[in-house]
Symmetry: C2
Subunit: 200 residues, 2 copies
């Protein structure tokens, strides 16, 4: 199970952990792009969140591929959509609380994209859109949740981590678990096998 020469253009500890657990050992090279203008352009062009997540994943992969000729670079992005509104990672705990209040009792989509770039060309991409429904939790629950989860709420677009106490926020979870965590892992493994980078 020799690992492919893969570069992950992301600072996400969860994505690195998912790849490592699956037996891959990517080099980590965070892209550090400014996402705001890309999102604004997507909205101005009438792109939906899924198309925009693909564009952001590609921008991250291209940024890193530009400084690493010949490398296979994986970019990824996730946008949360609820009632037509796009949500980013909350900047502080007050923002996390407001976001969870906005999502409470509602269904949201996690548009989750991954793109592979090599020498400036996109050679593969995937988009998955799992849906989650938050239950109508009490304000007392929310306060206790935020106290328990701590700064982990700042690390995801939904202000929750399903693999932790965040599962207590949910009424229903539909779609691929790995995409929910931030990476369409099964299609990525498929492509790496088809490309001869993983044993078939």
């Amino acid at each position: 199970m020799s690992p492919p020469e893969l570069v992950l253009a992301s600072a996400s500890a969860t994505r690195a952990r998912l790849l490592a657990a699956a037996g891959l050992k990517p080099t980590i090279e965070p892209a550090d792009i400014d996402e705001a203008p890309i999102k604004a352009a997507c909205k101005a062009d009438g792109n939906d969140a899924g198309a925009c997540a693909v564009k952001l994943a590609e921008a991250k992969a291209q940024r890193v591929a530009g400084r690493m000729p010949g490398a296979l670079v994986l970019g990824a992005d996730q946008i949360l959509v609820c009632d037509g509104q796009w949500f980013d990672k909350p900047l502080d705990r007050a923002a996390a609380r407001a976001q969870l209040v906005a999502l409470r009792g509602k269904r949201h989509v996690l548009a989750t994209a991954a793109v592979l770039v090599k020498n400036g060309a996109v050679i593969w991409h995937a988009l998955e859109q799992p849906t989650l429904t938050m239950r109508r939790f009490s304000d007392e629950f929310l306060d206790a949740y935020l106290a328990t989860a701590g700064d982990a709420v700042l690390m995801s677009v939904g202000a929750y981590q399903l693999e932790g106490v965040g599962i207590q926020l949910m009424a229903a979870v539909e779609g691929d678990h790995f995409a929910i965590l931030g990476l369409p892992l099964l299609p990525l493994l498929d492509f790496l096998r088809d490309s001869g980078l993983l044993r078939p």
Copy 2:
């Protein structure tokens, strides 16, 4: 987020980990029942794997509840079914290999049951049946997988752990991730909230 007084009648490290991650702190009291006669009786009675998983989960919970009056005891069980055949945890690596060869290229069901017993009475149960499809992996892949996964293959009915390199065995995964890992967690949390054991 004060934990309920819950007893887990299982030696499964994965189930204990799932509950702990969700914010529960069960007391661990493995049931140590003989599953073979219960399975044989289920088959003789024409029960399907789902009904049998519920019976096994109940037997485990009852065994522990019998020695812990007043405790809320959680039993759980998982049976893998493929082409009508029921699979148990493999006893050694050779059995794991044979099992993975039998599952290769096929869809299987993980009948996953949980039962809560208190003072001899079943007060709740849940059954989920996620389905997974193994890809047609090569013998070379299988050998490398078994070498990499090591004794972890002996710890699950499918000889794989989806949260590890076992994901490389799969073509498709459908159904609740927590049920695949061995516990219908969302319905359990629902019941604990309805019972006043978790903050609503």
